[in-house]
Subunit: 318 residues, 6 copies
Amino acid sequence: MYLHVQRLINEIEADEPDPAAANALQEGLGGQFGEMRTMMQYLFQSINFRGPKGKPYRDLLQGIGTEEISHVELIGTTIARLLDGSPRYNGKPTDPLDTPGAGGDTPLRLALDQSNIHHYLVAAQGALPVDAAGNPWSGSYVYNSGNLVLDLLYNLMLESTGRLQKCRIYEMTDNRTARSTIAYLIVRDQAHENAYARALETLGVDWGKVLPIPKTNAERFPEVKKLLDVGLQSKQYSFDLTAASEAGRIFQGMSPSKDGTQLDATEQAPAGVASTIAEERFEEFSPGLDPDLLALIQATADLEMDAVQPLYGPLPAG
Amino acid sequence: MYLHVQRLINEIEADEPDPAAANALQEGLGGQFGEMRTMMQYLFQSINFRGPKGKPYRDLLQGIGTEEISHVELIGTTIARLLDGSPRYNGKPTDPLDTPGAGGDTPLRLALDQSNIHHYLVAAQGALPVDAAGNPWSGSYVYNSGNLVLDLLYNLMLESTGRLQKCRIYEMTDNRTARSTIAYLIVRDQAHENAYARALETLGVDWGKVLPIPKTNAERFPEVKKLLDVGLQSKQYSFDLTAASEAGRIFQGMSPSKDGTQLDATEQAPAGVASTIAEERFEEFSPGLDPDLLALIQATADLEMDAVQPLYGPLPAG
Amino acid sequence: MYLHVQRLINEIEADEPDPAAANALQEGLGGQFGEMRTMMQYLFQSINFRGPKGKPYRDLLQGIGTEEISHVELIGTTIARLLDGSPRYNGKPTDPLDTPGAGGDTPLRLALDQSNIHHYLVAAQGALPVDAAGNPWSGSYVYNSGNLVLDLLYNLMLESTGRLQKCRIYEMTDNRTARSTIAYLIVRDQAHENAYARALETLGVDWGKVLPIPKTNAERFPEVKKLLDVGLQSKQYSFDLTAASEAGRIFQGMSPSKDGTQLDATEQAPAGVASTIAEERFEEFSPGLDPDLLALIQATADLEMDAVQPLYGPLPAG
Amino acid sequence: MYLHVQRLINEIEADEPDPAAANALQEGLGGQFGEMRTMMQYLFQSINFRGPKGKPYRDLLQGIGTEEISHVELIGTTIARLLDGSPRYNGKPTDPLDTPGAGGDTPLRLALDQSNIHHYLVAAQGALPVDAAGNPWSGSYVYNSGNLVLDLLYNLMLESTGRLQKCRIYEMTDNRTARSTIAYLIVRDQAHENAYARALETLGVDWGKVLPIPKTNAERFPEVKKLLDVGLQSKQYSFDLTAASEAGRIFQGMSPSKDGTQLDATEQAPAGVASTIAEERFEEFSPGLDPDLLALIQATADLEMDAVQPLYGPLPAG
Amino acid sequence: MYLHVQRLINEIEADEPDPAAANALQEGLGGQFGEMRTMMQYLFQSINFRGPKGKPYRDLLQGIGTEEISHVELIGTTIARLLDGSPRYNGKPTDPLDTPGAGGDTPLRLALDQSNIHHYLVAAQGALPVDAAGNPWSGSYVYNSGNLVLDLLYNLMLESTGRLQKCRIYEMTDNRTARSTIAYLIVRDQAHENAYARALETLGVDWGKVLPIPKTNAERFPEVKKLLDVGLQSKQYSFDLTAASEAGRIFQGMSPSKDGTQLDATEQAPAGVASTIAEERFEEFSPGLDPDLLALIQATADLEMDAVQPLYGPLPAG
Amino acid sequence: MYLHVQRLINEIEADEPDPAAANALQEGLGGQFGEMRTMMQYLFQSINFRGPKGKPYRDLLQGIGTEEISHVELIGTTIARLLDGSPRYNGKPTDPLDTPGAGGDTPLRLALDQSNIHHYLVAAQGALPVDAAGNPWSGSYVYNSGNLVLDLLYNLMLESTGRLQKCRIYEMTDNRTARSTIAYLIVRDQAHENAYARALETLGVDWGKVLPIPKTNAERFPEVKKLLDVGLQSKQYSFDLTAASEAGRIFQGMSPSKDGTQLDATEQAPAGVASTIAEERFEEFSPGLDPDLLALIQATADLEMDAVQPLYGPLPAG
């Protein structure tokens, strides 16, 4: 069972809208090696896992899988921010009910020249479950052979490819909104690669100096270097509310990437940052309320509500 | 950000393996109107939501979306159990390292006659991200127009169609494992239908006597009736760890289905039941360990691990 | 612009339900060489047609394309009839509001063993836009190169392949409902093959004795022979309300199939037969009305309605 | 059974070629919420309809479905006109047999920079059965649950989403060819939304002030306003040749959109305008005739043809 | 550049037709981890290879890729043989022009109950480019990251998964035709797994005892054991006509699977066996010749032909 | 069984990188009418061929199919060359281990504006198995009806459409790298069209003056004219190592295109040109070796290897 907090797993820096960068990031969301895929793959591998003796391995998959849901949330929100307002249309007048297209205006004209016109035509300047070439995400991407060693090997390759593609995206744009998320995900992919490589070490593989695969030397990217300097590539959270996860039996010892760090699984979850709700885009008719509906919405927002009885608590005693 | 507990959201009854029922349930997992779709649709609608004044509506989407992840986990696990051991192969000898196919045996012969041979050939008797006709789940299913009223209307139709299909699946099998999950999801779909119908009521729609759509009179199904009798169709959990959700401003008052119940949003999450790990299936080479690897796995499971520092606690003070 | 009459283009014989035959016929509806494809292909070829001098060729495409819409209607209705009631559930009690699944019954159990479970789970015992292996129809099937000779050559091959597949379907079932439609479409495909072959003859090709392609000698099928005996393979209707079609400039002379008949384009449309509406299927919740809704439906059906002003008349003077 | 007249359902204004606008319009033709989808969805819903008492509802679906075929024809033709001649290649010399690419020319160079290179490479400057992002139309789009209320609800949402997307396309271009068709379809989608909303009113729903969904206030678009001023959003044609349609029992009374108009179902069909055939595009080898073939085509066009015997007449007595 | 010899790479044993086994083998032909995929993946990896210093690695990919084309030919032929004659129809009368369906016969009736009806309806009892669940092969399967280490790692995983699935297919059928090819491909997949594992060893990885992945102990399958006993899993052919391949620099030394064998790359190609042409199937209208066409075919077969000038010779001096 | 020589079937001229041209060529590689399709279609038609008397026809299919593999290799390599270095990034410093992205550089920025971002993000400036609109190649493209006449007719149409599209691509770019391959493939498609047209002539068809279809008069393209002048359109190689092919019984006599040439099947294979390996692209991390790995690669390249025993010889006696 899953629970949610209204926080993003990492902060997204503010910068100008940039629809081209938004589209490149779609590969990291809905691509074959993006976050929707890792999320679904590890979720299925956890559900279908066989062999009670392998619980630490199952828990490792389940913990990383849970993190990937938050990555979907993070990169999806980043894409939405990069698209939001990209038409540079006068979208925030005093009157909240604007007049898009009035008199024959074309506030969405720029959509015709963008990488994926669906960002404007279908998704109201929001993220889509597709890759950077517009292909919808497919269930056929999910790999779950049932054989533990093969699944670990595949996952190692999957995280490595995800990181490779994100390093290429980094080289495509210097938009700070895009890069803050890309850099974070590069380092987390590295952490997951370390996790699967370490799991294979417990089964007898010695990686020599071949890790990390690929050797993108991402420490040359300043935004990445900051995160590596605090060791984020060697940390794995449990994302487990009741301390039942045994992933820490695997994720410990020296990093298989031989960067001199120790693997560390002692944290439950990062603190994250509060999430916010995007502004209206009138030219997209989103959310598209007229005065009558707006009044009803407001009335609902003003209603009293009963207190919720918590089963799982917000903050344990320090 | 998402967290996990090692519990299933509802109990799965034990019964015989039944691969035909398992395949029918795939529609509820990976079909156009299944749980992967609702999960992804509400996740995207939450991420791309516009209009800070509409926070109760966003929180309603986010809460239901979080529940759907647990539904994916539940129905996926149910399918895996229905498939597990369906070859009726002598798979649990004293010696954990069995000899599938030795001497020319065909322990998987039954796979040739099943609805989806991939359950045995690809997924090692586990769940797949496909529908009951074998089509992989597609990102093109996700609907997120950005227009609030349209999204609510679509979601109402989506939950209604999901429930309609599950009622048909109910009529296809009396396997208790299958029915315990189907009945639970029928009632939860009804709760979500009520949630979206209620949200449209706050915008001025009066449904008359047309709800629920469709009128399947599922109380005629005994397993469903038990859940309706305790009012599960009129309850919505927040799944929110820090009590930030405002969904309860919408989900209150008389049920739009006019069954005489009050909508109730005062619980954070159901208690659920502990989850377990499936046994080995040697004929699938899953997880496929030989004595050497088994010893290494055991060594890892015996390792000490450091305590995890909780950020979100397991159990709040009563 | 298109208009409709509430008649089927050919009569469908009554016989027992037969879901396996229904599924085979799906290839003729939603397959790569089925009626949805010919309909869409000729519609696009008509819309995009270039060269005003080639009007007779455009009109030939347009007329056959219009016929194909009626073929979609015919084969779709045939499939629906073959599926209707196939669960042999007691579906027509005195009380129109039945109790499917009551007490744990499984009236749809047979769906688990059928070729395409979606016929019961998704389509309420109705036709689907998919082929006999369950693949959804795809726009990528449509061929329209813009080059007249190539398009004619492709269309000839398309009709020939459609006929080949329907002859194979004929050999798979002796259900009279299925065969009455299959036999009709075999002969109409032959007529269309003749049309495209004749169009290529006007451009200089001499087919020798190679037509028809393929030589299935379908006159050995009794239901087909009856239609050949009245020359249906050598007739092409205009389906044109204002006598503007010039297709008859092409479709005349001896048949290129060298069966000794004359091509004949002097009829506007066949007479067809009145169409009917299928009965309720309670176990599918289709159409799923309870007493309240039923009363409202009846009230609507009893309403007076204003007379419709015809622009195109029902029956010209003999 | 269907018949055709060689007229377009609405006039297409002349303007410059505009391949970017053409591509945006592809969403309205081959997109998930475009005309191919509405056409196919209503065709299947009519074929599979259950419940003889619901004939007025079936006839409503069938009439709108027939209109959608003409919409496919209209928007397809509009796209073809927007593409035609877009290379601005010297394509109409005295000699009808031009020399594309002679001496190494690149008359199609612009294709490399357009939204969908297939418009030039595959479709000879014609329309394609794909959406604005290039995805082929898929049979998986068609929704037909068999449950009447659900199908009506879905159709309402479908028309609303189609209109929303077309309003966004309107804001993307001011090309008059594109806008004349977009404006017409916005208003007809509104009429169909009214039809489905009215059908749900007959079943007891009271929409309050929530309609139309979405509230795009399209009367701010001048081309749309002209059509609203003559009430085109409140009219539904029967497209039925023999006055058998009972759709008028539903489509009457005040518009559910509460714009003060009366719904009106008393016309059979609009008058439309004569359709024409596009010119040759030599650089596409379309239709690609050399002098020999041209002479043969001419000879065919000059042939006498026999008179066609009408079954359904062109013009009823006033 | 590629050349062909009219020989199969391995002998196919004769046995009864078995359409269910044929369908299972489709996974090995057109599945995600089948021979079409390995063939295309290695072909693309060879074409796009970067780094002249890595020629031995490129040559290894190219040699294995060439072998995979012959595997496509082998498994495709095996599937065709398993399907051929499966209707047990009296298909070889004295008169070569039979009368399928005459008098209403249903010689293809069994097609309705088979795993993939397309084997009879579309493919005339031949192989299809689809997997065992009927999904068409997709270009999205091909992995070619451009990073050498990642590509090698992926290929290792790919061969391992292919072998895993083939071991499961082995357990599904004891048909000798199916097993002779399955056993051969299991051993060749093992050889390719050894090749990629060895390539990673040259880059510093030490696999410990983890290879082969997975540990299916396929020596328990008698047909496999025979091939392992002659060391076929440790042999790699160059398939190179001009001795330019340097793959032998990698494929040497002790097998990474630690079975005590030496890797051996000293053979150019296996001898294989002569291939044959399948008989007619009249009920499929395949090849569908009537007496006239048959006479023309015979006349062509009797024609003299000019001698072909060889560039690459059939047999080098011993 | 297939063998390989490390030579390209035709020379690729050097010119500047040109990613837009590269993308247009993708249609010729992975499009519905591209080389992957012809290769796979003829391979399947050869495997599934029925009728031993038709061996010359089978051999014709097999020989052309083998040539198509070399065409895939040729056009794939051409695309890779057109992409290679297109970022104009300083990629060849003295030090082979470059620093892409260091300090926040964006060496891959241009990828955001290209037709298919996957060329940079996924494929490391290499070819992809997709068409020019980014659709992955699909097994559903392959046509193999089993009926000989239909298959020949389809193949004729297929080659004709492939040539039509390549003539359009020719008109889109004057890049010499692109044109050298496009021109070669235009002429080879013409040769294959002649082959299938000739095969239909042997069955009695007289094409009159309708061939070639389409009449693109490609001799107006200078690069094409050079190849026509040496008669390359009337030559068909056997690609058969043991002189077993009987295709020459068909491919002889006057060309059906009536260009006055004689068909000639007396050559086994063209000489081709030596192939090379592409340089590193550091900004793609391809192949991505660091000094340690580079040293290991070099060590492997320096290893001795055993001589390969040839079964099929490199060069027969003159």
